[in-house]
Amino acid sequence: MPYEEFLADFLLESRERLDRLEDILLALGETAPERRRSALDEACRELHTLKGNSGMMGFKDLQGLAHSMEDTVHALDAKAPQVGPLLEGLDEFRRLLGLRSAPAPPSREADGAVAPAAEESFQGSVRVAFSALDGLMDHLAEMVIFRNRLADTVQRACSQGAQRQGWEEVQLAQEVLGKTLGLIQEGVMRLRVVPLRSLFGRMKRIAHDEAVKEGKGVRFEATGGETPMDKALLEVASAALGHIVRNAVVHGIEPPEVRLSRGKSKTGRIKLTASLLSNEVSVEVVDDGAGIDRRALEREATERGIDCSRIDDLNSLVFHPGFSTRKNADMSAGRGMGLSSALEAVRRICGHVEVSSEPGMGTLFRLRLPLSVSIVRALLVRADGEEYALPVSAVVESRKLQPGDGHVVNGAGVLPWRDDLVPLLDLGYASRTSRGRRESGYVIIIEADGKHRGLVADGITGLREIVVKKLDPILGSWEGLSGSTILGDGRAVLILDPKGLTSVPPFVAGTA
């Protein structure tokens, strides 16, 4: 093949053309009829170029596929275009391109100019294998752990009165090392960042496919494509958002006749908005559908023996595993499993999901994700001789707790805080290391999903950058934990999950 060295360019350009083609096809339904012809011409042009380029590369199968898709576009009825078969062809084209992404055999040319195997379809200009960046992150994480260990050792030595000059230099060196590591960490993080736009196409496609299956009309809009996100997080976000969008089409948007009878436009709207907040990324999915049927949720909850009086926000029931108000489960939404497991994955990376809904008006899902995945700042807290790491992002404030500061309301310890009462949660009691709640120590006010808890512990022992490691499922799970980390001195410490902690009932035995 004379143009072998262009394989990577070919793959990249073809994927871009396929993305554009998909955009055109998905937008066709909303395109004004008089402009459809020119949209179809554009689709033809993309396919024609794909065909020509595939031919140049010697890929007969791709050439043939593009050719038959071109014929299909020509045969489309501009008045009622059926794009289903074309979308299938597009998927097939992508699959065939994927097969070609395998590393090329080494070239026999003396200069060894081997066409680099194209990795996943990156948008923009990052052309580094993600696995390489991931490896770099792993090594960096190890370095952070050892730097922490070094810092601890130096501090111990200094506090034990090692005043010799040698130690001061070590101290200085480790501080500089820490700063440099921070810069490298930031730099690598930035390399892993891709614009969220790369996800919009997939979401648009899901909305389209589900709408076709359900016989509903759905217009999908997305804004904030420039929002940056760590590629690893993007995968988690993609799975969760996919479920949310699917959910919005299947459960949210009503069938056209129902919409009309309710005085709404025939076509439902789903709007995805991404934005960058100070320390996190927020992605909202809003639909103008029926909203969550709280009564149906409550009914189902009661059937399953869930006590609704203990749940402040009934909407959050939609996150429970196996929860669905839809009677006939089908292949896509309706099984109730997908959403809860996707959201579990979001929680595992310290993200949050919120839902609010107005009956008859629609539903809003808000996904809040951290900017980077594996290193977080955490407060180290101690209770009953055990140390725990608490992500700083959830900490509102901390203060000393004196006997008599809190009191008991309805069997739960509470603390007056900012003109409000915040339920206290004894860390030792919650993690089963003590039998009652302590009267003194420290209270750390945490916030998750708008809910506050005062976490009571014996002490606050430090502030660290920690590397999050998942807990092995074999250890079982407690909703208050999200993972573990290894401290500078080599100790393994459990990481608390603020969201889980705010859902632990604050009741304490013997106080009710």
Binding site: P2, Y3, E5, F6, D9, F10, E13, E42, R45, H48, T49, K51, G52, N53, G55, M56, M57, G58, Q63, H67, E70, E109, D111, A113
Partner: protein, 143 residues
């Protein structure tokens, strides 16, 4: 005529890179390649490169396509003499015909190999563009 510049009008980045490779043998002899991403781009670039001696023209392009570009070039007294080779893809023979009627000097159908374009240029411009030694082709290819 000495081939000083070749204007490539083509919307695919990939094809531009392929032309760079294919024209390696001429570049070695001092020919410069000018790249335009569509017909309009090509029309804007032409006045800046009055020493263009050959235009290689893709037909299927967004914005201004190849056939319209060809018509416009043929109306310009300064440029209408520049020989044009049109490049089409299999299945668009009627476009090839229209291009040839509009004054193109030759045509090529995708997919083509480097030697197909070399042979065509050699046929159209016998003395000017053929490299002195056949061995330079290899060097050009790996450039």
């Amino acid at each position: 005529m000495n081939c000083r510049k070749i204007l490539v009008v083509e919307d695919s980045e990939l094809l531009h890179r392929m032309y760079d490779l294919v024209f390696g043998r001429y570049r070695n002899r001092g020919t410069k390649i000018v790249h335009a991403m569509n017909g309009l781009d090509g029309l804007n670039l032409l006045p800046q490169h009055p020493d263009t001696d050959l235009i290689v023209l893709d037909i299927n392009m967004p914005g201004m396509g190849g056939l319209e570009f060809l018509d416009r070039v043929k109306q310009e007294p300064t440029f209408k003499h520049i020989p044009v080779i049109i490049v089409t893809t299999e299945g668009k023979e009627e476009q090839t015909l229209r291009g040839l009627r509009a004054g193109a000097r030759g045509y090529l159908t995708k997919p083509f190999e480097p030697r197909d374009l070399h042979d065509l240029i050699d046929k159209l411009f016998p003395r000017d563009l053929i490299p002195l030694d056949a061995g330079s082709e290899r060097r050009g290819l790996r450039e």
